[in-house]
């Protein structure tokens, strides 16, 4: 005898798969955006911009699926929490996708033959890897409902914030040449996009804790001078 509400459970599981798949899409976008920055690859960058449609499409699918589920199945208790969380997470995914697009859009602007600062480039690369690892961890935490893993993301996010500040400081001291300074500005913007991706993973972590415990607590990052407050809306 099948479990009751079998179809409902199937549908809910499918929604979750779609959301986790969205996180995979974000990772692939992030990788390509990073690469396009590192190698000034304008073509790759434009592919990133175009492929954001896939993430937007995923968002619409999940959103519609959730509306349909709320209307027809009236989920309650843990089912309700996971549905609410998925709605929140897919929005985070959409925003992360937008951030990747923002990064990609900065590639042609920062010029082909501009001077580059190695420190800044290294820091950007580290930030990118860090962001990637956070997105992956968020996906795993959500998929396995792992509260520890979720809470760990806060700690990791502190690292991204630190790198962000370092890049800022370095860009300020980068030199007098206009080209250099311009490039430095663009790198600040890239760093900021990466930092926002990190914030979104913390949002996802909050949702994981909510699903498991039923309690919603904002996870403040540990950085003392941070101007960033993790708000449920994910904004700055």
């Amino acid at each position: 005898m099948r479990e009751t509400r079998h179809q409902f459970r199937e549908d809910l599981a499918e929604l979750e798969r779609q959301v986790l798949g969205g996180l995979d899409l974000v990772i692939s976008q992030l990788d390509r955006a990073q690469e396009s920055i590192a190698y000034q690859d304008v073509e790759l960058a434009s592919m990133v911009v175009a492929d954001d449609d896939r993430i937007d499409g995923r968002y619409l699918e999940v959103h519609q699926g959730i509306l349909s589920m709320l209307a027809r199945q009236a989920p309650v208790a843990s089912d309700l929490r996971i549905v609410a969380a998925l709605l929140h997470v897919i929005r985070c995914i959409e925003r992360m996708g937008d951030q990747c697009v923002n990064i990609a859009k900065l590639v042609p602007l920062s010029g082909y033959e501009s001077p580059k600062d190695k420190d800044i480039l290294d820091a950007i690369e580290k930030m990118g890897l860090q962001a990637r690892s956070q997105v992956l961890q968020a996906k795993q935490a959500l998929g396995s409902r792992n509260v520890r893993m979720a809470q760990d993301l806060v700690r990791q996010d502190a690292g991204i914030n630190r790198l962000n500040r370092d890049i800022f400081k370095r860009a300020v001291e980068i030199g007098d040449e206009i080209d250099m300074r311009e490039w430095g500005m663009f790198m600040i913007l890239v760093a900021r996009c990466l930092e926002r991706i990190g914030d979104n993973t913390v949002d996802i972590a909050e949702q994981v804790v909510f699903v498991v415990t039923g309690l919603f607590r904002e996870m403040d990052d540990a950085a003392p001078h941070s101007t960033v407050r993790m708000s449920p809306e994910g904004g700055l």
């Binding site: 005898m1 099948r2 479990e3 009751t4 509400r5 409902f8 009236a74 989920p75 309650v76 208790a77 843990s78 089912d79 309700l80 929490r81 039923g214």
Partner: protein
């Protein structure tokens, strides 16, 4: 979750039925606001109920707060109907059935010695699953039946009966035909008639045993709205199979299983984050 009990005084809603040519609005109920009154609490302590040898209620203790709606939910056979029938001592009317324990109305034990059972039932009214207006009585006589037969007559009786009909939103629908048979109304109207009959005797507590399960969705919603109104004056205990209804209507929910209370919590908690695994499985439908 505490409501601010600061209700406006009696609202006179414009009487639509006197405007020629304008059809009465089917969705809204013109209803006289009830005067809020301090409700009475019901406390069940260590109640055991039997059907012959079958132990249906096993040492149940529940506190029903005044002026609130408490819903009893649980699978068939869990004892929720038996429990409410113990509260107004209807359970013992069934042959070979008995109940032992304490049920306090405020601080009086209704199972105490020397307690008059019919007096208990005048204080604790009941609305049943299938509307049961008296077929040989008119609409008015139905509402007044509890009054007349308890000695309240004349103008006072008429006043109370009319007030009850207004309070349940039936007045505008039946004022023209108060002496027509009570059974000539629709299902939803009959159920509201039974509710009017129950509140005409001014009980302290109203028990409802699946009052909407035989009604169509619109009639159901009307009754639910009425329940929301009634709690300003009465304490209400409602047994329901319909989880959505419990979610809409109740302030707190009691989940029962096999004659025992599993969880008793505010509605929000039961439906968003229940404590007990069994409650979680029941409300999400994993009971298979």
């Amino acid at each position: 979750m505490e409501q601010d009990v600061d209700l406006p005084k009696t609202e006179q809603v414009p009487d639509v039925s006197t405007t020629p040519g304008s059809p009465p609005e089917p969705e809204t109920m013109e209803r006289e606001r009830l005067e809020p009154a301090q409700g009475h609490s019901v406390t069940v302590k260590d109640l055991n109920a039997y059907y012959g040898e079958h132990h249906a209620i096993k040492g149940v203790s529940i506190a029903f707060p005044p002026n609130q709606v408490t819903a009893l939910i649980g699978p068939s056979g869990c004892g929720k109907s038996t429990l409410v029938r113990c509260i107004n001592r209807m359970h013992e009317e069934i042959p070979k059935a008995r109940a032992e324990g304490t049920v306090l109305l405020d601080d009086e034990d209704i199972y105490g010695s020397g307690v008059d059972v019919t007096a208990v039932r005048r204080q604790i009214g009941m609305v049943f699953q299938k509307a049961n207006p008296f077929p040989t009585m008119s609409i008015f006589d139905n509402v007044a039946s509890g009054l007349k037969l308890s000695g309240i007559r004349g103008a006072a009786m008429r006043e109370r009966a009319n007030h009850s009909l207004r309070a349940v939103g039936l007045w505008n629908e039946v004022s023209e035909r108060l002496n027509r048979p009570g059974v000539g109304l629709s299902g939803g109207q009959q159920q509201r008639l039974c509710i009017a009959r129950t509140i005409a005797v001014e009980p302290e507590v109203i028990l409802m045993d699946e009052p909407c399960s035989a009604l169509d969705p619109i009639a159901t919603l009307k009754v639910e709205e009425l329940i929301d109104e009634l709690k300003s004056r009465y304490t209400i205990v409602i047994v329901t199979h319909n989880l959505q209804q419990a979610a809409r209507v109740a302030d707190s929910v009691v989940f029962m299983l096999d004659g025992e209370v599993v969880e008793h919590a505010p509605t929000n908690d039961i439906f968003s984050n229940p404590t007990d695994e069994r409650t979680e499985r029941y409300v999400t439908g994993k009971f298979g």
